[in-house]
Symmetry: C2
Subunit: 334 residues, 2 copies
């Protein structure tokens, strides 16, 4: 901590401990001592290991300061759930470091906590602990989440092999085009699907329940967060293969399809970020059984290509590949 004058507190607001007790302790469970301790006790199921991930989001970078606090909370949590699903882990708990601007209000925190609570109920998740602090800009939300899995099932992005087929869950580009709607860009705002795109930008929909199938079948796997094309490059490089993508097989929602006639929309859809879907490879001999399991799961999957011998290149055929050779293919964090 620092100078005494930074300790000023607006009189009408509850203190840190009241806030935690009122809004966050109800999300905690066994081992977290009602969030009244400095740490949590994590008892791992015998024989299981943990996948552990930490992703932060900051106002003005990953979301707009005036986005609804409920959706900010969901985004902060789901960008982490997306990583866990991609590794094949069933999410269990998370801890939260919440950095607030000095002008925070209780109403903001109540709505933020309600967003977390909704996802906790949906995915049977617990808040284990964390930290609250002031920050000059803000809010800044750093979440560490963990899930259980068998260590042998952990799906890294490094294990694609030539011959593997490449799949993606869900649809690509909704978040990136939703950002254009959020920014008020014409003509995106006037699309019939503008609301759907915006909703996906605000609240990602990672396929959390698909983790079990990833654990069972995936060779390499990663979530698509910085852009479809660029993230596949990362997988290709990490695995030491090339990836041949059939551009016509990339799955788009009807809202993205509607937008694709706009110049530049295709590039944005496949190089912009915020998809939070999973790209993964399955060895060819296992694809039939995988597809049976995937269909039964209800999660949409599309086969978009094949891993071949190579040195980390991604080739995308058709319209989707045009224009990608120029300009950035994914989001840079700095």
């Amino acid at each position: 901590m620092m100078a005494a004058d930074t300790k000023a507190r607006a009189p009408a607001r509850p203190g840190e401990f009241e806030l935690i007790a009122r809004y966050f302790a109800p999300l905690s469970g066994e081992g977290s001592f009602g969030l009244a301790d400095d740490a949590a006790l994590v008892v791992v199921t015998p024989g299981k290991s943990l996948a552990m991930t930490q992703d932060a989001i900051a106002a003005g970078v990953h979301f707009f300061p005036d986005d609804p606090p409920r959706t900010i909370a969901m985004k902060a949590l789901r960008v982490n759930l997306s990583d866990l699903a991609a590794k094949g882990a069933v999410p269990r708990a998370f801890s939260l470091a919440l950095g607030l601007h000095p002008d925070w209000t209780e109403a903001w925190i109540a709505a933020f906590a309600e967003g977390l609570a909704e996802d906790c109920r949906k995915h049977d998740l617990l808040l284990s602990g964390g930290d609250t602090f002031r920050v000059a800009g803000g809010p800044v939300i750093s979440i560490t989440a963990w899930g259980e899995l068998d260590a042998a099932d952990y799906a890294s992005r490094l294990s694609a092999r030539p011959g593997d087929r490449l799949f993606v869950t869900g649809t690509i580009g909704d978040g990136a085009l939703g950002l254009k709607v959020r920014l008020g860009e014409e003509p995106y705002c006037r699309l019939a699907g503008a609301g759907d795109l915006l909703a996906r930008y605000l609240v990602p929909e990672p396929p959390v329940e698909f983790a079990e199938i990833i654990a069972r079948f995936a060779a390499a796997s990663m979530d698509i967060s910085d852009g479809f094309a660029g993230d596949l490059e990362k997988m290709a490089r990490a695995s030491g293969v090339d990836l041949e993508i059939d551009g016509t097989a990339i799955p788009f929602s009807s809202a993205v399809m509607e937008a694709l006639s706009i110049p530049g929309a295709m590039h944005a859809a496949i190089s912009g970020g915020d998809d939070y879907q999973i790209a993964f490879t399955v060895p060819q001999w296992d694809c039939e059984e995988f597809l049976r399991a995937a269909v039964a799961s209800g999660t949409r999957v599309a086969c978009v290509g094949t891993a071949v011998e190579g040195a980390g290149n991604v080739r995308i055929s058709g319209k989707a590949g045009e224009g990608l050779s120029h300009g950035r293919t994914s989001y840079a964090h700095f």
Copy 2:
């Protein structure tokens, strides 16, 4: 992510992946895939559980933006190691969310990483993963750290019982008075021990190796981070006891002793934060064996009081107790 113009990158600086590979990957180990994956695989020793903690520090709140990056890194890590030690856990690994101001330099990151590396070597710790992101203010550093322990040995702050003796490790007040030196306050800056106080403010010295003894003997335990008096109040309230403190037994360093003649210094020493020592109780019947083990460990411990029947009050006798009834007894995070 957000608008395209936020993607600008200064040409002379390395990108995120080069930075990670150059400065942070050398701190990682098995299960972290050279920090090239989105998560880490944490294999817990069979029979052990994890203590998990997350504490964030922000420029302008917990440290000064122009503090040396090496000491900022150490502080960010050690405020978490302090929590683990207080729970009785041997630290194993941590993940790091590093939010940087757009003006970051490679030299800053190199020195920051070297600070982490020193502590990783000292405590046999691994960096498991994390995230880098831009933030308007900055830097903001959110670390999640975990250590192993037997679940039955986890020492919460909720388990002090009447009759327990209360101990603290190390010395109290160095960090709080070191902040006054850092702020250039007279006459603190002219103390012979000013340099020692400043060093403790910049780099806490939590008794990491004492975790084993905490696990073996402590009933209740917590780290002192927001102020000796206020943190003891938290323990008293959480445990449902009163704590009777012998003010003359509070351990002070020679630098703090020198400062105590300054008006207000005693209050600052026992209500200011940044101690990162451990306060813990030991059942009276176990104190003899505990003290033998503590002496053998080489960590300084002092018996400062006793838990008695009560409802969460702390009474401090002598000079240390004077003046505490007025004003704040600990740091508020907002």
